[in-house]
Amino acid sequence: MKHLSKTDKSTFILVAILALLAPFILNPFPEGSAMAQFNAGYPDLMQRFAIFGILAIGFNILFGLTGYLSFGHAAFLGVGSYSAVWMFKLLSMNIVPAIILSVIVAGVFSLLIGFICLRRSGIYFSILTLMFAQMSYSLAYSVLTPLTNGETGLQVYNDDPQYLMGPNSSEVTNLFGLEMRSTFTLDVGPWAFQFNLGYYVCALFLLLAFYIAIRIFRSPFGLMLRAIKTNQTRLNYTGLNSRPYTLAAFVISGMYAGLAGGLMASMDPLAGAERMYWTASGEIVLMTILGGVGTLLGPVLGAGFIKYFENIFSKINDTVLHTWFSILPDGLENAIVWVLHFFVGKGWHLTLGLLFMMIVIFLPGGLMEGGQKIMNKIRGKKKNDKDGGAKAAATPAE
């Protein structure tokens, strides 16, 4: 911690507090109330917030700093998950070897792909990564079924060898016996707050990932990556070959994705090929841009935003809508429900698409810019701060 500057330290502490108190923060509405639908404080979703946060942070190290837009990052997530599940199948349900292997395998895999793809830049690079990911997906879904269990997804069976499994070993994913699913529920009046061990493991990894990201952002290495984004020619005429830098960034962000994949499998030991489909890679890109490219906190926000929509809005069905508006006169109630039902439940994609457009049109800097605007309003800052504002928006590391 002493290696962080004052602002970075407060950002980190803020994230740490948010992560630790997530079960409270995400569960603001009492159980059983109409608004409880919007609660996100249950273990699975909280785990996802943290895991996709890690993924987006890692992606941002590549895209945000170097400007290389990888459209195949989901492949590393998938490879990480597969490695982790194989560890469960071969060794035991302990998540430590699983996560270690998933990071290593994703690292090696990204080294190979990065070595080839980074010979090109711009859209050529993006399409190369996209094609590698699509190949991985196609093969995982069909030919590689012995390795990946194809359509169904790789999972642990009772007859798997599990060589390290003792007679008393836990049958579910665990950290030296502490089961990931263990949840302590705190009932406070009508509220029920769930403290899940798996979530806290993810949250710790998120904090670690976030801390390393800050360090990278503030390091000479990070400076070089940003230099690559702004002017590769000058960097070359400064005696630096940009390739090893971009490759290192690519591998680091691939390892982040592998970590996320390993964690995902550790929370829920199944790895499906869809994880590697191009839309999954696209989702990572969207998370990062939505949150704010090149900002530290943005990608985490973007990840949370998209996962929240996917998990909360898709579950609002017409019946739920009718309960919400039941106090209104029937005609009005039906009219409102009729309009809203295009945007929630099976229409959640529509809402997401519209929000993408709104955010990118009105907040070019993503959610972070929105946040900054609000903060500025609150602080009553005047417009004369234009230079500072422009600088903040343009300087990736802020």
Binding site: Y141, T152, G153, L178, L197
Partner: protein, 445 residues
């Protein structure tokens, strides 16, 4: 994941490794199983595809679920509850508790489906999960429910693996499977097309496609057919012309399309466009077979399905009392006849509710026990049995063909033959279903 309860909390793991002591959390022993309903209502989780290629099937499943809930709570005309051979259901909910439900979107992706099911279990307290429109998703969610300690009543899933190598004690399948399709189709095909046919298979290159192809090949070869070739086609294929073209000169006189959904529509369209059905090969008319039919999907292929044989789990034009009652209440509520996906999910919901009533508990182990070996009738498929050993329903299978002169947009298929249950039955240890382990029922908490 057996401890995903919303309110309970859980035992932590044994002490292991370097002697790390597990924290002893406060443990609520009040409930013996996951999400035991405490109030006056019980929550079921309907997990269906609402986005993606199978969204229409998902929507139809959801309609059927809503209808089933209405009937269970005593609303509507009661539908198949009136024809169901078991009379345990009284129209007052399940075990006196009002039935409520939550819905989720599987997106036809294993990951999303599991996330959605988990949120139903962890957040909404669902005591049973049901739905789905593909085998990959069904198997993934079934595995989750086994770990979490809730019952899974599979929706539309046709792969042998669901009740074969991936069977689970907490999972139950009413829908038929690839083996049954083969066993039901083969005699009909033999009767119509003779027993010296040469079949060419185009097979979707993933687990379901493989098991289905294997089943059909074995069944038809048993009738004397010869398999010329089996070509695997990528899932993402939209234009099958390059797979269909070689069929013409392969010497085959039957083309079997082991495809579903969009793949089926496109491959069938290509095959018809290439004029396969107008060909005469080996002095026999060239024929096409689509082993797994779905009316919703068949509609997408338009005229091309006319006269083409396949199998389905159920069809609304059946004339037994159960079917009539179901079609009537569904049709009156929504204005069109239900699909087989709607039928199987409706039946699954009723079967689950009935099992709860009969066992007097929502405890998955009690429910499972009540379902295992359960024999019933009046649900549209004739006498049916949930086999205890693999949780697969055994019942008659329909052989259908595309109707030549449809009277409406729903009138796409006609039932050619109802293949009796005995003919599609197989032993539990049949090689196509080998390798699985049902395990023990898991009540969670």
């Amino acid at each position: 994941m057996s401890n995903l309860t919303r309110r309970g909390l859980l035992k932590s793991g044994a002490v292991m490794g370097a002697g790390l002591a597990a924290p002893t959390f406060f443990t609520n022993m009040a409930h013996a199983y996951t999400n035991a309903p405490t109030g006056s209502s019980v929550t079921l989780g309907f997990n269906v595809p609402q986005t993606g290629p199978y969204a229409d099937e998902g929507a139809d499943e959801l309609r059927a679920y809503e209808l089933a809930v209405e009937h269970l709570n005593g609303g509507g005309d009661g539908g198949m509850m009136n024809t169901f051979s078991s009379k345990a259901l009284k129209g007052n909910g399940i075990l006196g508790k009002k039935v409520e439900f939550v819905t989720g979107d599987t997106q036809t992706k294993s990951d999303a489906a599991r996330a959605s099911a988990k949120s139903m279990i962890e957040k909404d307290g669902a005591v049973m999960i049901t739905g789905g429109s593909s085998s990959g998703v069904a198997i993934a969610v079934q595995g989750l429910c086994q770990e979490a300690g809730v019952i899974f009543m599979a929706g539309l899933t046709h792969s042998n693996d669901t009740t074969g190598k991936d069977k689970k004690a907490n999972g139950f399948r009413h829908f038929f499977n690839g083996y049954m399709s083969g066993a039901a189709l083969a005699p009909v095909l033999e009767a119509r097309y003779g027993n010296d046919r040469n079949a060419y298979h185009l097979t979707a290159d993933y687990t379901w496609g493989w098991t289905q192809q294997e089943s059909i090949q074995q069944a038809t070869e048993g009738k004397g057919w010869n398999t010329v070739n089996n070509v695997l086609t990528p899932l993402a294929t939209t234009d099958f012309s390059s797979y269909v073209a070689p069929v013409l000169n392969s010497g085959a006189d039957v083309l079997v399309l082991n495809h579903y959904g969009g793949n089926m529509i496109n491959s069938l369209t290509s095959a018809v466009q290439f004029g396969l059905r107008d060909k005469v090969v080996n002095n026999k008319n060239f024929e096409i077979v689509v082993p797994l039919y779905s009316r919703l999907m068949a509609r997408g292929a338009g005229e091309n399905v006319k006269g083409i044989f396949g199998s389905t789990n159920w069809h609304w034009s059946l004339t037994d009392d159960g079917t009539k009652a179901f079609v009537k209440s569904f049709g009156e509520k929504y204005g069109f006849p239900p699909s087989q996906a709607a039928h199987t999910t409706y039946v699954q919901t009723l079967l689950y509710a009935d099992a709860c009533e009969r066992s007097g508990t929502f405890n998955p182990c009690g429910v499972a026990e009540a379902l295992e070996g359960f024999k019933f009738d009046g649900m549209g498929n004739g006498p049916t049995e949930y086999r205890a050993e693999d949780h697969q329903c055994f019942k008659d299978v329909l052989v259908v063909k595309g109707k030549e002169n449809p009277t409406s947009e729903f009138d796409v298929l006609e039932v050619v033959e109802v293949t009796p249950r005995a003919q599609v039955e197989y032993p539990v240890d049949h090689p196509m279903f080998a390798g699985g382990d049902l395990g023990k029922c898991n009540p969670g908490a």
